[in-house]
Amino acid sequence: MSTTPTLKRPARAKGDRMTWWEAIYLPEIFRGLAITSRHFFSNMTGHILQLFGLGRNLQPAVTIQYPEVVRPLPERTRTLHRLTKREDGSPRCVACMMCESACPAFCIFITAGEHPDPTIEKYPVRFEIDLGLCVFCGYCVEACPEDAIRMDTGIVELSTYRREDLLLTIDQLLKLEPVDRTTPRSMHPIPPREGDGTWSPPGVEVPTHLRAGLTRLSGDPIAVGSDQPPSS
């Protein structure tokens, strides 16, 4: 038989009156100071002891001097995406749009092109991730049938001065490398966007109609006067 768990009301709920002891102010002040001092002295003692090789089992608090010093990330942290490459350096991605379909934030946008090699057939001319919308859920990585997208660059510093710079294009995503776990992590800049944000196999011209959306990247309004899609 299960019993319904009862919630204990806190002794004093919000909005109740202060007790006389609290209302006289000074005792509570000293209580607060005592907590702060306890932490200060215990950390200081710990650090001094460890300086002399003692107190190994103590865990005094540390302050990391970010950004000069960066913490190692747990191995499975989802960090900035990258597109993996075939041996010849072309993207593994076949523009199947599974990641685009799985993305709950609707932040991936892919435009597919006709690859001259019929055994590849479809390739991404454009592959854009809007980090301003991404929630780093990793569903895109899970969804990919080709292991073409990974979130293992170790890059978590994603601040930019302009919102448009948070839209990563395919050339940027292809340039990113997996994090090197053997050397201490350092701050990575996001590689700058080059060219018009499209990719195509050597010798293949990007068809003009697939460049169509690129006005978006330069911030120009699209033809309809408003860049908000009319809701359907």
């Binding site: 609707f106 946008f109 597919a112 169509a212 959306g213």
Partner: protein, 542 residues
Amino acid sequence: MPNVEIDGRTIEVDEGTSILEAAGQAGAAIPHYCYHAGLSIDGTCRMCLVEVEKSPKLVISCATPVAEGMVVRTESEPVKKAVADVLEYLLINHPLDCPICDKAGECGLQDYYMEHGLYSSRMHEKKWLKGKVIDIGQLVLDQDRCILCTRCVRFGDEVVGDQELGFIDRGSRKTIATFMDQPLKNHYTGNLVDICPVGAFTDKDFRFQARVWYLEQTKSVCPGCSRGCNIEVHHTMRRFRFEHKRVYRLLPRYNPEVNGHWMCDFGRHGYHSVDSPERLFFPLVRDGDKFSQVPWMEAMRAAAEALRGAVEAHGPEAVAVIPSAQSANEDLFVLRELFRDSLGVPHIDYRVPAAEEGYEDEILIKADKNPNTHGCADLGLVPADGGRDLDAILAGCRDGTIKALVVCHHDLGHLFPDGDQAEALSGLEALVFLGSLPTSTQALASVVLPASVYVEREGTFTNFAGRVQRFWQALEPLGEAIAEWDIWVGLAQALGLECTYRSAGDAFDALAQAVEAYAGLSYDTLGADGEPAGVAVAEAAE
């Protein structure tokens, strides 16, 4: 009529019905590839095997007619095993291209595998490879994906009467192909993509554009010719922000009275103007040599003032209207009320000849490329007594007897073989143009009223046979375009006239009251298949 028991349900069906069709009526879906309601029975795919009591082995349900007292089981263990076995055979050489296959999401092989297959592959042999990405005209053929159902071959034989596709080789190497990879030349190739249960055909128009699960569907009517094929508009706003594209494809919608299962390629690919960046997005008023973009109220006021000015100074005989058979019945009706009934304009003529003669065939395509010529005729948008026809209207523009001209959608350029349209129309005090796309006539207008296109509104077209068919709104209009009937209502109000239609349905119901051929029709009961006009008239005559 025979009674059959299918999975425990007894139903009565017509003599000669196949078990597969009877099962459909009984609500039991039998998996099948080669059977298609619009084609003859072939029996090649062996997917539709069912168990019939007293029959020694499983029978193919598509080619077995029902008999009195037949007891059919579609879900017994032997049937399930047989279906899984057939699927396993079909997948022996199948490339499993699903990630790059446009059929994925609506693929018969995927769907039935998830429902009936679910085995793991036992094949160690290499797959037999056939041709991929073969350009056959409008379509791209992938021989690897074909499951040899022959639907496409029968479509060629029976529907377009052109045997372009066939099989070469035998056994594992049996391959669907055109002769020497020649392109398909018929005008119905898009239907192959629809009827092929797998992704062997992809339409270049839709290839790699989107995944099918992005697309929403809205019922509509093809405005490509006067046949008025029933269609489904597949659209999504999901990629609009980047691609400025909302409609991705049109698919035929079954209507036995109009188009059956099919539609032509011209109609299928005729949707691109809907998202064209050329569209007229905003009301424009002429400002010297160019247009300035103005709010709707101002454009309405400008058009109303011009029309009122012409009528007051020269009488309604100085105004002419050229309506278009591209417009829906509702638009034409409000236009008729406004110009003919309220303003008393006598010169109304919709009969603008096409710039070039339209292609026509015996299957679906009609030479008249307007969806609503019949509607224009039903509404009598031709000159009244003493009114001028099109030629006389244009002559009137030249000699100055017509002061104000209203043109809907048309490009009148080809009516001036000497190329002097601008000169001929320069004497007009006002040229009001209503339309969705720019034309050479629009470029000369003094006021441009942007109309929404058929996927952005609702209404009815009357096809060449007089069938009144409804289309539905799929998307919001781009820019500030609004529905044509609504523009005329606004213009009537700007002219101080009483005009209170609040929806296309209102206008249609008023039309049904006013026009004899449409008596008895109602917008709400028109339904997805449409209804023939003139039925009430014919009944009354009997």
